[in-house]
Assembly symmetry: C2
Homo-oligomer: 252 residues x 2
């Protein structure tokens, strides 16, 4: 078992621990491909030290221009490779484990890159609702770090980020519209029972979308009005979509 | 030859006549698939009557809520089908002419839909530069229609739409950045000599991007500073891209 990949994730108090949409992309990727791995849980203030120790290079920067280290990251002892960023990890896994199902089937890498950008833009209205709720499920050391960095970024207290009253309804409608847009993409060119981007085949773009929906479920909870609303959108599209990918959610 | 598809396009005074990015998507589609067709040139004020006569249904609406008829449109006498909208036409051609090269190779329809939305959003800064220049190459009847409808839409004279001075430089930089974003998508997961979205295979998304670049070349001209600038971006990516698709530009 010494050759097992280590997957670095951020812990929480939510049932099942895992919650982060970014690290979920890598957990989904590893589970989808069936590559064995173990999880190492890293609180926010420790991410930089862990990544530096692994020798990870990051392209992201903090507001002050110094390197910003993020999770997910993996360390693969079979090749001595350590890297961060879910999309780079997905490319690495496709290349180094060619016998496993492809996250980027041949000819789809550039199309998926553009699709992911379209999804990220579409999703903008979601953040104001999920960031403050996310803070509520973090352990104390991560909570302090998350609050400090996000409040600096938004220039206001976390509690003041979610819109209220009429503005809340307007912004909620935008989140719903965003998921209706994605539903519209998914409806194109499909036969019966084909509910993923490429039909019945799952690809990385599906797993990215599932990661954000999973985030909503994790931070609000399955019994919450928020989750009930999401699962009712687009004739239950997202409840069925998540059900189909449930087997790749497993936290090990 | 009575079974020849009729392709409806908008004429101009530009060399080769064709100029519209939207109709170009269909010309590229027909030429790429090698489906024989003839072109019928329709001035802007005549588009509605032609489409109504063909029995075309449109989902677009004018500002006053009445149906908005647009080109491209095709009439295919072999099936008695008339339809408008380049993406619907592309789907139709893939379905009815299955022996021709696919615009949407299997499994890519939803990914291309998302990629096209990403491209459309990215391209926003271009319009302010090309709309006024487009007006300069239209025939008088179309020019009057184009000016009236676009000036109503923008709330200002066509000549006052392009930014000037420092604002012009800023907006030009945004157009360049937009094409650098698309270049970034195209760079992903490619082997040597693979310069299209799916590698060496051309798909509808490539033809859409080429249609907008062709528009810039048509309205400013090949000798213009604007065209020289575009072809220098991203290490000459777009000059090579257009050269590779030149064989599908043919106006018949």
């Amino acid at each position: 078992m010494s050759n097992l990949i280590t997957f670095y994730d951020i812990p929480s108090t939510a049932p099942g621990n895992a919650w982060s949409p970014n690290t979920c992309k890598t957990r989904y990727s590893l589970n989808f491909k069936g590559i064995p791995y173990k999880t190492e849980w890293v609180e926010y203030p420790d991410i930089e030290a862990v990544c530096r120790k692994l020798g990870i290079v990051t392209a992201y920067k903090k507001e002050d221009g110094t390197p910003l280290y993020t999770l997910p990251a993996i360390y693969d002892p079979s090749t001595g490779t350590a890297l961060a960023d879910s999309i780079l990890i997905a490319e690495y896994l496709d290349e180094k484990y060619p016998e496993t199902p492809k996250l980027f089937p041949p000819g789809t890498r550039s199309l998926q890159q553009a699709a992911l950008q379209a999804f990220a833009s579409t999703l903008d209205p979601l953040w104001q609702f999920v960031l403050p709720a996310t803070n509520g499920i973090l352990n104390p050391r991560s909570e302090e770090y998350f609050r400090r960095t996000r409040e600096s970024q938004y220039g206001k207290k976390l509690e003041d980020i979610p819109p209220v009253g009429k503005k809340k309804d307007e912004e909620c409608a935008k989140v719903k519209a965003a998921f209706e847009t994605v539903d519209g993409w998914l409806q194109k060119g499909k036969g019966p029972g084909e509910s993923y981007f490429m039909g019945s085949t799952v690809c990385f773009t599906d797993l990215v979308i599932a990661s954000y929906i999973l985030w909503v479920r994790k931070i609000f909870g399955e019994a919450s009005p928020e989750w009930q609303e999401v699962t009712a959108w687009s004739d239950g599209r997202w409840a069925k979509f998540m059900k189909g990918l449930e087997k790749y959610e497993k936290v090990v």
